[in-house]
């Protein structure tokens, strides 16, 4: 296991360097001048533009800029917001909220997704299965902003169970509704994936063996079936973290949760290009680390990976 972890960490280095380089290049190569963008729709004063360009080091050759940029990354310097705050400060302030929200959403999608998938898979072709397919299909089709407003209107405005926007961003109860919205799309995918996986595995020979061993049904499902069926689900969860981050921008924006997504949402709204990039870079790093953790979890579940 130790060797596997070490190897995975080593493999991550080039991906990390490559990904950050890619973002750097995207910002540099693509049309549009980030400095000019700071003026929004107004035409910038040429002298000021040049001064800013020089100040930001954008007049240097690309490789020097890249080293400069990497140096900043490693020292935690992700730039400033228009208001003059360090991006990293804004993030470290908002991150605990987002992490809470994301973990809640993650828990919801795993518990309900796997639960629904298991139910459907075990009752393949029956009513429970068919209604799961319809339910997940609908859930997948509703884009996050739409779902957010739908829930907001229904649970807050109609039923008055909660306030339409979150008042206290650290309050778990208040975060519940945004977490459900954030987790729902992935919940549907997890449910479908679990169902497929269960259906596939339930016919496997080792399940027949487990039955022939005289194990109780509970144990066959709990230990033998579920453990094997979770492998593709965990793989999905790893790649899904990215979608969760994208979803967080929308969800936090709609429900006014004071997290990283909300900060990013505002930065986009106020056309603060440089800040947006700064936020994205941090989020990408968080994403890479999180996928590494999921990858390691994958190895815990599947010994064939560990010893490969």
């Amino acid at each position: 296991m130790g060797r596997f972890v070490a190897r995975r960490l080593l493999q991550m280095i080039p991906v990390f360097l490559g990904t950050t380089f890619l973002i750097f290049m995207m910002v540099r190569i693509l049309p549009g001048d980030p400095v000019a963008a700071m003026w929004g729709d107004k035409a910038p004063d040429p002298a000021q533009l040049a001064a800013f360009t020089h100040k930001l080091g954008l007049d240097l050759p690309w490789y020097e800029q890249y080293f400069d940029y990497m140096g900043k990354l490693f020292t935690g310097n992700f730039g400033e917001t228009m208001a003059g705050r360090q991006v990293i400060d804004v993030i470290s302030e908002a991150l605990p909220v987002t992490i809470r929200l994301a973990l809640m959403a993650f828990a919801i999608e795993i518990v309900f997704g796997v639960g629904i998938g298991l139910l459907a898979g075990l009752r393949r072709g029956k009513f429970a299965d068919k209604s799961t397919l319809v339910f997940t299909l609908i859930l997948i089709s509703i884009p996050v902003p739409v779902l957010g407003y739908l829930f907001q209107t229904f649970f807050a405005d109609q039923l008055k169970w909660v306030t339409p926007t979150v008042q206290d961003s650290m309050n778990l109860g208040q975060l519940l509704l945004p977490a459900v919205v954030l987790g729902s799309l992935s919940l549907a995918y997890v449910a479908r994936l679990s169902r497929t996986s269960i259906v596939e595995n339930i016919r496997a020979d080792y399940i027949r063996t487990a039955t022939a061993k005289g194990l109780p049904r509970r144990k066959i499902i709990g230990t033998h079936l579920l453990r094997n069926s979770m492998i593709p689900v965990v793989t999905f969860l790893g790649t899904d973290l990215g979608a969760l981050m994208g979803g967080a921008i929308v969800t936090e924006g709609i429900f006014n949760v004071k997290g990283v997504g909300n900060a990013l949402f505002r930065a986009i709204g106020q056309k603060e290009g440089a800040t947006v990039v700064g936020f994205v870079v941090v989020l990408v790093i968080v994403y890479l680390v999180a996928s590494l953790i999921v990858d390691l979890l994958y190895a815990v579940l599947d010994p064939r990976i560990r010893y490969a």
Partner: protein, 314 residues
């Protein structure tokens, strides 16, 4: 004719072979294709989604067929958020008016164009790019595979929506094509991975070895022997992804970093409706409903295609 039990056990084999990623299995393309078509024609889900998509495509090509009202013409004085008149089928006030006094019905019809163009173009572009890269990596293996796979990993390391934020951020004027470009630039990795896996499986098939032994050229082997047999999983993933791209475009436009006025997009309309959500919920309901229906149609289509091409998952 093989007997029944034989068939039963044969059908079990794929289930045993691996519990992780569903291994695409090589099959005869022609019979698979026509089988799939036969299967599809009989499925109501496919027929419904195909009909919906057909309507959407007509809406994209000739919106004038559905409405003659200008979607950009606002009459704030007379129509500011005037409620829908459900008896006026296909007329300007059918779905009511938005916060700028524009006909929501007309905007919903004209909004189809952005979604459909983005969905279809991005899917085509990622399938071509990703498919080509995946084919090269899978077929040649070795250093080619190593390099291409690492490049894929690097791109894969950036979540789609986040990456699009950065890419679109640098366009000052964003059109449908900038959104297509951004989604393609970051979305091709999935196709490349699927194609690579599929090609590696097919490459080992005996008929490929046979074709090589007969001296067929590399290009011919790739196009005539590998591609038709490796394409099925790619088609499945592409059809399902199409709905996702449409949803992503709407989300980006909603966030204000996707399409911009004067392009008409359901995402933009959803965004502008949020300010009036309590007084005029219909302004949100219709674009949101159309968007969901469109995504649903493509996802249902993808589901049906997958079931037809990969019966083992049914």
């Amino acid at each position: 004719m093989p007997d029944l039990i034989e068939k039963k056990t044969a059908a079990k084999i794929p289930a045993q072979s691996g519990s992780s990623a569903p291994a695409p299995k090589p099959e005869k393309a022609r019979s698979l294709g026509s089988d799939a078509w036969e299967e599809l024609r009989r499925r109501p889900i496919f027929l419904i989604s195909a009909a919906l998509i057909l309507v959407l495509i007509v809406m994209t090509l000739v919106p004038g067929l559905f409405t003659s009202v200008d979607p950009r013409a606002g009459d704030l004085r007379n129509h500011y958020l005037s409620p829908p008149n459900y008896s006026h089928l296909f007329q300007a006030d059918w779905f009511g008016y938005d916060g700028q006094g524009r006909s929501i019905y007309s905007r919903v019809v004209h909004g189809a164009r952005a979604s459909i163009i983005v969905g279809i173009c991005v899917t085509a572009a990622v399938t071509l790019t990703g498919g080509f890269i995946g084919m090269l990596a899978g077929y040649f293996g070795g250093w080619m595979d190593t390099i291409l796979s690492r490049v894929t990993d690097v791109f894969f390391g950036i979540p789609l929506l986040l990456g699009c934020l950065v890419v679109l951020n640098s366009f000052t004027e964003r059109t449908v094509w900038s959104v297509v470009f951004a989604l393609t630039a970051l979305g091709w990795t999935q196709m490349a991975r699927v194609m690579r896996g599929s090609v590696i499986t097919v490459k080992q098939a005996d008929y490929v070895t046979a074709a090589k032994a007969l001296g067929a050229s590399t290009g011919r082997i790739m196009l005539k022997h590998i591609l038709p047999n490796a394409i099925a999983p790619v088609i499945v993933v592409a059809t399902i992804a199409l709905g996702g791209y449409i949803a992503t475009e709407a989300t980006l436009s909603f966030l204000g970093i996707g399409l911009q006025d004067p392009t008409i997009s359901w995402g933009i309309d959803i965004n502008s409706a949020q300010k009036v959500i309590r007084t005029a919920p219909f302004a949100l309901f219709f674009p949101a409903g159309m968007l969901s229906l469109t995504v649903l149609a493509f996802i249902m289509m993808g589901d049906a295609v997958r079931d037809a091409l990969d019966p083992k998952l049914r």
